[in-house]
Symmetry: C2
Subunit: 659 residues, 2 copies
């Protein structure tokens, strides 16, 4: 552990330190004023960062304030998102550019600060690049995710040959989030020594003081044990900060700076545990600002130039786009040694995913893959073999996987993040944050549903469909659904869905299954967004399913036909879904639909019931997993146990067709 | 860091060590046989634990094999769930009792082992107490959660004055999960020195070798930095294990034992990275068993008594149940200093939650509360003040909160776990596991929906309703829904829902909101499971809502009435919901329903559409949050921004009433 040399040990530039103090005070006053104007916010957390932000944004970071989209820029991830007003104040002072895209760019002005948190403002309550603050790469504010985002940015920069540094500012209390330590492991594994995290150790959480487990000493000891270079500084001493930050990326490890800070620095009223997330009352604003000025005077603060951001040292590489179409399906299977499946005409959708990802990676260098020690189950391992440098083994840490993917997306990559769908559920908040960031992230959940059988419910994802569907009728602000769900029944559709996912700019979820499944579609079948496929026609009833379950439904339709009940069968493979072809077919077949799903409620049944209930002309019943599953030797046994077995489908269909 | 004394340094009982070896070999052979019989499983991971399990289950743990429900028993949490066959083998050998409840108890026999993973077997693929293996307290198999469960068991035992030890066996690769370190912090904070985690460091993950970040040295250094007493042992040396395990709870810290183990111990074929999750081929079983025997011979294994479990040292305290009814609502508010709300007739539902929890805690000592540094936002702080010993400040670590709650539930507590609903989303997998465990856990998510306004989308939970609803039509195997959702519109209903939640034996979710809301119900109103409330009657249209949004809908109904459009208004406050009263009312009012929700799709609209589409006699339209929100100063501005503002409700209703 290094302790930054004290002021007297260095040849310091006293006038620079004094101008850093002066700038910190100037920005601090803006923070007080803007949060009071907004009527909410966290000014005391911002004041704790005042020197850190000045040192980073004026003196250490190499970036174009006029071009926040420049991929050569050093980046700042504000993991402690609620402290954001201090960054807004600095950025306005520097005339940094804002806007939702380069065509709408304009410099932020100091006057803009008073609009903090307004509907029309680019200055959201927490960092939110999608609303027009592109200085940030990802939405933060749900704590503990920033270091993972930074890891994604750093890994992407290395892939692109860009030399830049990624700074993260995190809170002490925030370091309680396990994801921080998942990211710490990943960054060491990946040797991303250009990442620097600064822990602002002000000792105060929201409800109380932070635990001794999050003391500066404890965080330092932990970071060291995780393999980081640790430097302790006084977070309000410009020289110590400068010395520490200047040394980043000169060690053979990533750097953790433990900065002792004061929550509400410079204003007595705002200090202590009782002033979290509160603006200063309007009638005390001037007194608070005067106190900040007095604090500055005591430190010898003097107006002067603390510096301006240096230009980035790297020229940003141009994004490489798609270089052509994917291999034909058969060739893609042969490419990864799956030619046998073409003979057998069956393949698990998870294996088809691997083949598709390899083929996609062949034609698009932006595609990267992340997995959590289950690449030989999700078949991300195929990509790892063929595109080694673009595969990231994240080990058993799903929250980190998702947020690293969000960071990579911000750097122009198209990340596919895979694990068992069940395990990815622990990254739900991270997926939410990626969605707010409008990350171009592809989540691939394998072994979903109960069809995996013997391993039992701890491995079965059953609420995933309800969760991901919930976002599919939500506009992301760019006319695109906030999430697209793809649920393939066979290898061919899986292959095409992976291709579609890469074409959508936004979050997608692909749900794959463990068992081998027969091919349903011709090798060259094409699939549309919001589409569905009619697989069988009949006049008595309409059956709708997707994924592995569709095969059971087709079997049921065959048996029903033997009984004289002829069914339409649809593969409703995606959300959002245009249900009109299904409703129309149903109207011609008794006006009754039966949906069958290998998941809990909130999926196909809900989607079709919502569509049907708009007009009321079609009735919809649904079979979903109706009890908590357990292990059984075969998928069919579990299907029966949870109410979606073949016999149950047939009996439900028979009843409906006769109703 | 302590290194266990080597064999020569101790007065060891050589014959005991030899009989431990012999038992390890005997159980190892069972593991090989049972997984091959099952056709799946993870025998190599089990063999790595063979000595650890013998030492724990025969020699160290104090428990009644004939009474796994005895609350004085030492407990074992198998966090590395896939290694479970070795525990099954030991338990069968000991004649341990199985069954879903004490009335159905029977001893497990060695013959039962061959039924591993069968539908009819209590021996699920991963630990699953609810299917009849009560030796375990919680379902595991999704990695990284066991230490938190253990913390919950230990904290509950201390509350009950029971002296017992909680052992956790975890994997090295598993320690990559951040939750492990969240639990490590919590256990130190809570001084739960009777918890001992044994990391089985076999060096192999599923897809590859574990990272150097998860080497025995790294895990040991991390555990020490987190404040644990660390002991390194050879995980196949009975004497080292015995010395280390005997010393648990004699230190002033919790104990982490770093056990170097061999994956596939004793059988060459099963070692290395390529043998994860694979049974031995049937024709090689005898050779593998012979190799185990030979390994034993080389170690001097000799049949003999390795010991039998000692009886628990504590007599388990009787569960205290409910001692009476809750205070009247008004008195409960006065009790926590909220009398003013009775005058103003308005109170935020999150504050009412705090008051209700205090009143519940007054009459039921099983009730405990957990929160993550936001108790002054969720108002769990009221409980902390009034029932201090039963409040657990878990700091900013939501995954740990949920799994600690699951552990407490297993020990007979009724845990209420609160945070912002948004942040609890990162514990989705943990909630899934608690559901599989049939934990009696109450999740309380505050600040949900967009009504919190200025803080912006990073704090807003919008998919929570879809997620929790997905489980509400799922039977937990005991005739109870796997989840009950409560979504109160006012303080009075909040109060009653907390009471209902305590009466349900299973998972519940309470969704509270940030803003103050006027009282809708009389102070003594009562509420039923699956119920809804008619708040207004009309002949033209039926409006259905819940939560804070209901107030907007009532306003809209008032304005619509001014336009001559008379609406039914229902508060559909719960899932599962009996929708029949709403459908019946709708049939008498034009046959059209409009739902209005402050969440993404998958909630009320889906629930009512599903119910309506069964018969097709009622049409249902829905308004839900239709775009990713951003900050705005007021809830109403955000409502308008995301398509659920008052004007939009009125225009949608007007259109429907005229259709």
């Amino acid at each position: 552990m290094t302790v930054a040399a004290s002021r007297n040990d260095q040849e310091t530039n006293v006038s620079t330190a004094n101008s850093v103090h002066a700038k910190a005070i100037e920005l601090g006053k803006q923070v007080v004023r803007m949060t009071t104007a907004a009527g909410s916010g966290h000014p005391s957390s911002g004041l704790a960062l005042s020197h850190i932000v000045v040192e980073l944004m004026y003196r250490q970071m190499r970036y174009e304030v006029s071009d926040p989209w420049n991929r050569g820029n050093d980046r700042l991830v504000l993991s402690i998102g609620h402290a954001v007003p201090i960054v807004y104040a600095a950025y306005a002072d520097l005339g940094g550019v804002v806007g939702t895209d380069p065509d709408q760019r304009r410099p932020l002005s100091v006057d803009d600060l008073s609009g903090l948190r307004e509907l029309s403002s680019v200055l959201d309550g927490h960092p939110n690049p999608a609303e027009g603050f592109p200085f940030f790469d990802a939405a933060t504010g749900s704590l503990g995710q920033g270091l993972s985002v930074a890891a994604g940015l750093a890994a992407a920069a290395r892939l692109d040959g860009i030399e830049k540094r990624i700074f993260v500012v995190a809170g002490d209390g925030e370091s309680r989030e396990g994801q921080v330590w998942e990211a710490a492991d990943f960054i060491v594994d990946q040797k991303l020594k250009n990442v620097c995290v600064i822990f602002s150790c002000n000792g105060h959480g929201q409800a109380a003081e932070v635990s001794l487990q999050q003391s500066p000493e404890a965080i330092g000891a932990k970071a060291a044990a995780f393999g980081w270079h640790v430097i302790e500084v006084d977070g309000h001493d410009p020289d110590e900060l400068s010395a520490a930050l200047s040394s980043v990326a000169t060690y053979d490890k990533p750097t953790a700076i433990i900065a002792r800070t004061v929550k509400g620095w410079g204003v007595d009223l705002m200090q202590g545990s009782n002033f979290h997330g509160k603006p200063v009352p309007a009638d005390q604003v001037e007194a608070a600002c005067a106190e900040l000025d007095a604090t500055g005077e005591g430190l010898g603060a003097s107006a002067g130039d603390p510096g301006r951001p240096k230009a980035p040292s790297s020229t940003a590489a141009q994004k490489a786009g798609r270089s052509g179409g994917l291999l034909p399906f058969e060739d893609a299977l042969r490419r990864v040694g799956l030619a046998g499946a073409l003979e057998k005409k069956r393949l698990a959708t998870r294996r088809a995913y691997g083949a598709a990802l390899v083929a996609l990676g062949d034609v698009d260098s932006r595609v990267v893959a992340l997995d959590g020690d289950v690449g030989n189950s999700t078949f991300a391992e195929m990509f790892a073999r063929e595109h080694e440098g673009r595969f990231f083994e994240c080990k058993i840490a799903e929250q980190n996987i998702v947020s690293v993917g969000a960071g990579m997306s911000a750097a122009g990559k198209i990340p596919f993040a895979s694990s068992f769908a069940k395990f990815l559920a622990r990254a739900t908040d991270q997926i939410d944050m990626a969605t707010i960031s409008r990350a171009n992230l592809k989540i691939v959940g394998s072994h979903s549903g109960v069809s995996l059988g013997a391993d039992g419910p701890s491995q079965m994802s059953l609420s995933d469909i309800a969760y991901f569907r919930s976002m599919t009728r939500v506009d992301n602000g760019r006319g695109v659904a906030a999430c697209h769900v793809f649920h393939p029944c066979d290898a061919i559709s899986t292959y095409r869905f992976v291709e579609l996912m890469a074409e959508i700019d936004g979050l997608c979820f692909l749900r794959t299954h463990r068992p081998d499944a027969p091919f349903i579609y011709p090798f060259d079948e094409s699939f549309a967004l919001r589409g569905c496929k009619s697989l069988r026609s009949g006049e008595h009833l309409t059956l709708v399913s997707c994924g592995y379950m569709l095969h059971n439904v087709l079997k049921a339709a065959g048996k029903l036909a033997e009984q004289g009940i002829e069914c339409n069968v649809f593969d409703a493979y995606t959300f959002p879904l245009d249900a009109s072809p299904i409703l129309e077919a149903a109207r011609g077949a008794g006006g009754v639909i039966l949906t069958v799903e290998d998941n809990y409620i909130g999926g196909l049944h809900a989607e079709l019931a919502e569509a049907a209930a708009l007009t009321g002309s079609v009735r919809v019943s649904g079979l979903t997993v109706n009890r908590i599953p357990k292990s059984a030797k075969t998928a069919d046994e579990v299907f029966t146990h949870v109410g979606v077995g073949l016999d149950r489908i047939i009996s439900a269909a028979t009843e409906l067709a006769g109703s």
